[in-house]
């Protein structure tokens, strides 16, 4: 359970570690999708909304590598553009969630008292709402425009990030150097930013990756239900949703976007699992 704070010795650099083969491969897959998302208009063989095949659910061919979708559009191009929405929305969501979680978590640990108690009670209650259910409720209320989706995802995953960061920060908070800093008369902001943050940043980054996977999965799930990214835009989950009738004859239009999601999420998980122990170790 609690095992002190193993990542206290922050002297060595983040990139001074050796990565193993699986970790490197996973990193390459993530890099691949990032490049695809960034340069989508230059890579995609066809415009994203253009109907290029007279047939729907056309087979794979040299012209259409992954066949065509339910309207005869090129599946490969749609996946390449879909990477932008899946990666972009998830990244924006996890950035907001982790920042809020870490800020509130450190604040709760440093300030303590009723502030900590009330905030933690509230966050625990939020955690006890299953994420997909929470997503449905908020989407029903605020709709599924892209900003609303990002904020929804961020809101749902902030409590988890808060709990993680708070547990780490509470451990660091009991250290002697914090007491010394307090005696020196440093204010709360200084304590949080200069004393605690450097000591929790690496496990927090690992948590960032895990949370990214959660958000990708939730976003895909919502889009799959037709409640996430709305047409004409489409992320990978939405691609599965719009082509689901093709499942009964095994169309690539259904399988390929699913595989894209799986390759991304499995790679992130594997990368985090194969990070050098020093980075990944968590004290909670």
């Amino acid at each position: 359970m609690m095992q002190g704070a193993p990542s206290i010795s922050a002297a060595t650099g983040f990139f001074g570690y050796r990565f193993n083969l699986v970790g490197v491969l996973a990193f390459l897959v993530i890099l691949f999708w990032t490049v695809v998302a960034l340069f989508a208009p230059h890579i995609a063989p066809y415009p994203v909304g253009k109907i290029v095949d007279m047939d729907y659910f056309g087979p794979m061919s040299s012209k259409l590598w992954l066949g065509s979708d339910y309207l005869g559009r090129d599946v490969l191009s749609r996946i390449i553009y879909g990477a932008r929405y899946t990666l972009g929305i998830a990244l924006a969501g996890v950035l907001i969630a982790s920042s809020c979680g870490v800020i509130f978590g450190m604040a709760a640990a440093v300030i303590g008292g009723w502030f900590d108690a009330a905030l933690s009670r509230f966050m625990d209650a939020m955690i006890s709402i299953p994420s997909k259910l929470f997503g449905l409720v908020i989407v029903a209320a605020v709709g599924s425009s892209l900003p609303a989706l990002i904020l929804t995802l961020a809101f749902i995953y902030t409590p988890g990030s808060y709990r993680f960061a708070r547990a780490l920060a509470v451990n660091v908070n009991t250290m002697d150097f914090i007491t010394v800093a307090r005696v020196r008369g440093e204010n709360t902001l200084y304590l949080a930013v200069s004393e605690i943050l450097p000591n929790i940043i690496r496990p927090v980054l690992a948590d960032f990756g895990i949370r990214f996977v959660f958000i990708v999965l939730l976003l895909s799930g919502l889009s799959f239900l037709g409640l996430g990214v709305q047409p004409p835009l489409a992320d990978w989950g939405a691609l599965v949703h719009e082509n689901i009738q093709g499942l009964s004859f095994g169309a690539a239009a259904v399988i390929a976007p699913s595989l894209a999601i799986a390759s991304l999420t499995i790679s992130v998980n594997l990368l985090i699992d194969n990070l050098p122990r020093k980075i990944r170790d968590r004290s909670a």
Partner: protein, 316 residues
């Protein structure tokens, strides 16, 4: 059972009730705060201002939000769940039949997946590092890392499209025999079992491994106790709390899974009802379904915590 245990259990129950209050509050406000006036949405664009005002009056929409929340909460307790916006049916009628269907699906899945997953989780923890353990770990990480709809669509591809053993879509009203019943439940239950088992296996394995690395297990090993004795007599009784906890947490994935699986297989359960309600923005129905799911989840978690308290030998 002594007073210490009774006190802790009571405290846990109080926390559960408070959490349920906060959660239902959050659900109510998430849906009540939405932009747009419910009355004018219901009456459509051609409604006169008088008609809108009249409906607002009748639905108590002008009351403070706090008062509406209290009225809604009291209605919930007395079984008056209000009416659906979409088709004006009482929500209790809409929900009750669907609720039974979902409980059946969840119950059958739990009956299959819990013994299956516990066995795999415990054995792989005991044989940590073996080939068997590594295969189990890789498969579970794989299943956890992919969306539920991918597990479901893979099952459809394999069993309905290529092998043609099972129907791709389940329809409850076309059941004529036990064979039909089995065929109908096979695909949703199989998919859900897969998803939930992966979570249980992973968490159980972690819990048992943590117990096996404690000093008293090492002590038992040094005394020369046999492997089975160490696991069954020393480790498992102490790992019971964490395992039950892992079970309860994993069953929350059952809720997430049920939402996707009921949709993909057209299963007439409460989750499908809720997804449809979200599509039509039928707020009272969404609120009710959400609270039912949250309450179910909280009950599971609370039971797990209470079992953990009771099974803790230090409190006996």
């Amino acid at each position: 059972m002594n007073s210490e245990i009774a006190r802790m259990v009571a405290k846990r129950l109080v926390i559960a009730v408070i959490t349920l209050l906060i959660v239902s509050f959050a659900v109510f406000f998430a849906t009540a705060m939405l932009p747009g006036d419910t009355a004018s949405i219901l009456l459509g664009q051609s409604a006169t201002p008088e008609a809108v005002a009249g409906l607002r009056q009748a639905m108590h929409l002008d009351d403070p939000a706090m008062l509406r929340f209290l009225r809604w909460g009291l209605g919930f307790l007395t079984g008056d769940l209000g009416k659906s916006y979409a088709n004006d049916m009482p929500i209790s009628v809409l929900v009750s039949g669907r609720f039974v269907n979902t409980m059946e699906l969840a119950g059958i899945t739990a009956l299959i997946s819990i013994p299956f997953a516990l066995t795999l989780g415990i054995t792989s923890a005991v044989m940590q590092g073996s080939l068997y353990d590594r295969v189990v770990t890789i498969v579970t990480i794989g299943v956890i890392s992919v969306p539920e709809f991918m597990v479901a669509s893979t099952a459809v591809l394999v069993f309905a499209v290529y092998l043609k053993w099972l129907p791709a879509i389940s329809l409850v009203n076309e059941v004529h025999s036990l064979y039909d019943l089995l065929r109908m439940y096979a695909m949703p239950v199989m998919t859900l079992t897969f998803v939930v088992s992966a979570q249980i296996i992973r968490m159980t394995r972690a819990a048992v491994i943590e117990t096996l690395s404690t000093p008293y297990v090492e002590m038992a090993r040094l005394k020369g106790a046999s492997r089975s004795r160490i696991v069954l007599r020393h480790a498992l009784p102490n790992a019971l709390g964490p395992i039950v906890n892992a079970l309860a947490l994993s069953l929350s994935y059952l809720i997430g899974g049920v939402i996707i699986i009921e949709t993909i297989f057209n299963y007439p359960g409460i989750a499908k009802l809720m997804v449809d309600a979200v599509a039509t923005r039928d707020l009272p129905l969404i609120q009710t379904c959400a609270v039912i799911f949250c309450a179910g989840y909280l009950i599971l978690i609370t039971i797990a915590d209470i079992i953990a308290i009771i099974s803790n030998p230090r409190l006996r």
